[in-house]
Point group: C2
Chain length 454, copies 2
């Protein structure tokens, strides 16, 4: 690849412009370019800037740039980047190239990255960085401040300082920089430490729980420890925000009944788009085939009272809608830990009356609709239209109640089975309610219309 | 209210226990108590701790505690709390009590709170706090550090320092504390300032956009300015995380087809639960009535070919499912600004072939289903079962394509009209696709079955 294609003067202009902008804006500018153009521009930047650009998780072509650059430059960038970001980039580079790059790194960076790469994606271990400030508990305030001034440029954050036991190296306490700078220089570091016991997370904790901990305690960084209480790294608040946004996208997509996609919509290859959507669509289609089976079962009734068919979509969809309301309420309540698994019966006891009232409201509207259409002569529902109206009203109460109950309990079931409650909950509940809805509808119809049109 | 009900010794025990825990854990403990118990405990805490407790946005009974306490204690608490939190609490206290409390506050606090209360909820102005560190641009590094040490305890964050023009008082630049402590004491403060122009947000900016800015620039705090460039306050990263979680809950609930509820599920009063859910449910029910109208229109065809009714739920729900996939994809893509309003035609051009392929896959499964049931003798679809199978297959292609297209374009339409794209998108699209699906289905049936069973 010819990285000299853009003229030197152009580069000087670009460079001076970029120098006045925040690195996040530079990344936005680069993301608007092709991978090749981005590589050229990054290759011509001063090293410090290109490190900053590559350190941004939002920079789309990080892997392509690292792969396209000459190895010595790529290695210098990886060594300059934060360890968590460098390991993320290496994670996505294919095997032979990754091995060559890794071998060329200096020993410190290689060890740090190798270590981070052992944690599975989506855990505190994979999210954390090893570039934090720690000091032994027998240091003074002044010693700590001097140390921070020295290492500041190579640390992801210096606002949280981690105090370790001088002999065991276990995490003893945390100090915030704001308290530290107000401390008496000769006082021991622990004199400005927090009063509460240090709060840490294990390396295996899923990233959503890490996000919850950071948000609960308003931390700028949370320490990650191993099973013996030794510090492995820190997860910072900006990483958590990125993880939260990613999580939110996955939740919305799963609720929409598809596999999660982490690429931007317009960048997803066509085949992948089909793959991610077809799977769930087929599962739901095959489940929904039971509606055809249920209707075949009631085909005699249907033949006798074709008028019943007219209201099937209306009655069924109401069950689906009430179910998806209940499901989305409980998905969030579970995610925010407002309800726990053991609360399922409390939820059921709330949804039962809620479903009856909501179904009753819809039932009344339905009865009014049929009465008005019949009386105004818009459509003739036959001699027994009053019984038909009662059938629709009563079915709606039954179906909406079933929808609310099933919709609220499905997330508990999914969570109990170890799945994410958001997984295809809404469309899955619609399908379940559709099939049950047909059975309820025809049973209620048989009850009210038996001996007349049935 | 008798706040002496818990014995003094018990309080001493509680107090010592609370003293060793993080304030967020104390709040969690208090949230498990009744409002009255929580008030008693808070009333017996040392003032500094009760201020910390009330400063936590997750503390549920803040308004109740402030209202129940004697006025002098309540005023001391409000004055000690951060201004943004105090104004949030006052916002929710009813008129006469709020006025009395406000009048009893000292002038500084009252001015700050009055100012914050002028901004509508959900904007940068309502989210910001006025307790930030600002220094004139002609100060030195040492002057700034000394100032920070002095005011540290009364500021929400001291990690971002805002440099103002000494005469115009406009925001000139920002300095991070980590750079400040490494600076030469006698050097001017601007020598350690960031190279890029200061990034700020207007007070009227919606909180989602503030969250996006903080997440994009990895800020710990973003300055809020008025139209003349004067600083009004800062929004900190922890406020943004809380706002993001709230936003996420609202999105999930709106996608589930209901009004957003910000209370915990089990704490929502029954009447409110019905109110929040019945509205959209009724709107969707009335819209879905068009399915009955559409089927009435085709009732002659239905009477001739009752077998067509069997597949209505199956065919309709597939359209709804593909629509909700497309909708959820585009809702997120719009929220993350991966696609913009003007990209609607790009999205349409992607969804058209996607819908055709997905519909084709379902169509093939549908044809196989009918063939197997017919050949195996599970059900007799009549002499023209082959034409029926073709009808189902072709309808599925049409309906899934329509669902994908409509589902992907609805969020654009909602956004263009000024609504949140998440608003009831998924159930609304299902309703739209249901009605259209019936028309497509019977039209395709007429095309293939006309002259045979129709």
């Amino acid at each position: 690849m010819n990285i000299g294609k853009i003229e030197t003067t152009e580069h000087a202009a670009l460079t001076s412009r970029l120098g006045r902008e925040h690195v996040a804006d530079i990344v936005e500018f680069l993301n608007g370019k092709t991978a090749q153009e981005a590589t050229e521009i990054v290759a011509h930047m001063p090293l410090q800037w290109s490190v900053e650009v590559l350190d941004q998780p939002h920079f789309r072509d990080a892997c392509e740039v690292i792969e396209a650059l000459p190895q010595d430059k790529a290695v210098a960038l990886l060594e300059g980047m934060s360890a968590d970001r460098a390991s993320d980039v290496l994670r996505w580079i294919d095997a032979p190239a990754r091995g060559h790059l890794r071998d060329a790194l200096n020993a410190d960076t290689r060890t740090a990255i190798d270590h981070l790469l052992t944690y599975p994606e989506g855990t505190a271990g994979a999210l954390m960085t090893t570039e934090f400030v720690s000091v032994p508990a027998n240091w003074t305030v002044k010693q700590t401040l001097d140390h921070i001034r020295e290492v500041e440029h190579s640390r992801e954050t210096v606002y949280a300082i981690f105090v370790l036991d001088p002999t065991t190296k276990r995490l003893v306490n945390t100090v915030s920089l704001r308290r530290l700078i107000s401390g008496v220089p000769d006082a021991p570091i622990l004199s400005v430490a927090h009063a509460y016991a240090p709060i840490s997370v294990p390396a295996t904790m899923p990233q959503e729980e890490v996000a919850r901990a950071i948000s609960k305690y308003d931390f700028l960084a949370v320490p990650v420890v191993d099973s013996t209480g030794h510090m492995l790294g820190i997860v910072t608040v900006d990483d958590v925000i990125d993880a939260m946004i990613e999580e939110q996208t996955e939740d919305v997509q799963r609720m929409g009944g598809m596999e999660a996609i982490d690429e931007p919509y317009l960048a997803i290859p066509f085949a992948e788009m089909i793959k991610k959507r077809a799977g769930w669509l087929c599962i739901l289609f095959v489940s929904e085939m039971f509606t055809a089976s249920a209707m075949q079962f009631f085909s005699d009734e249907l033949e006798k009272a074709i008028v019943l068919a007219l209201f099937i979509p209306l009655v069924m969809s109401s069950g689906g809608n009430s179910g998806s309301q209940a499901t989305s309420l409980i998905i969030r309540a579970l995610a925010l830990q407002q309800v726990r698994l053991r609360d399922w019966w409390r939820v059921a006891l709330r949804e039962l009356p809620t479903g009856i009232v909501l179904g009753g409201i819809l039932g009344i509207i339905g009865v009014i609709r049929i009465t008005v259409w019949q009386q105004a002569g818009f459509f003739d529902y036959g001699d027994y239209w009053k019984l038909l109206a009662v059938t629709i009203g009563a079915s709606l109460i039954g179906i909406v109640t079933f929808g609310s109950l099933a919709g609220s309990l499905l997330p508990f079931l999914l969570k109990r089975l170890g799945f994410d409650p958001a997984t295809a909950s809404a469309p899955f509940i619609a399908t379940l309610v559709d099939v049950t809805g047909i059975v309820i509808y025809f049973s209620v119809a048989w009850l009210f219309l038996h001996g007349t049109i049935l």
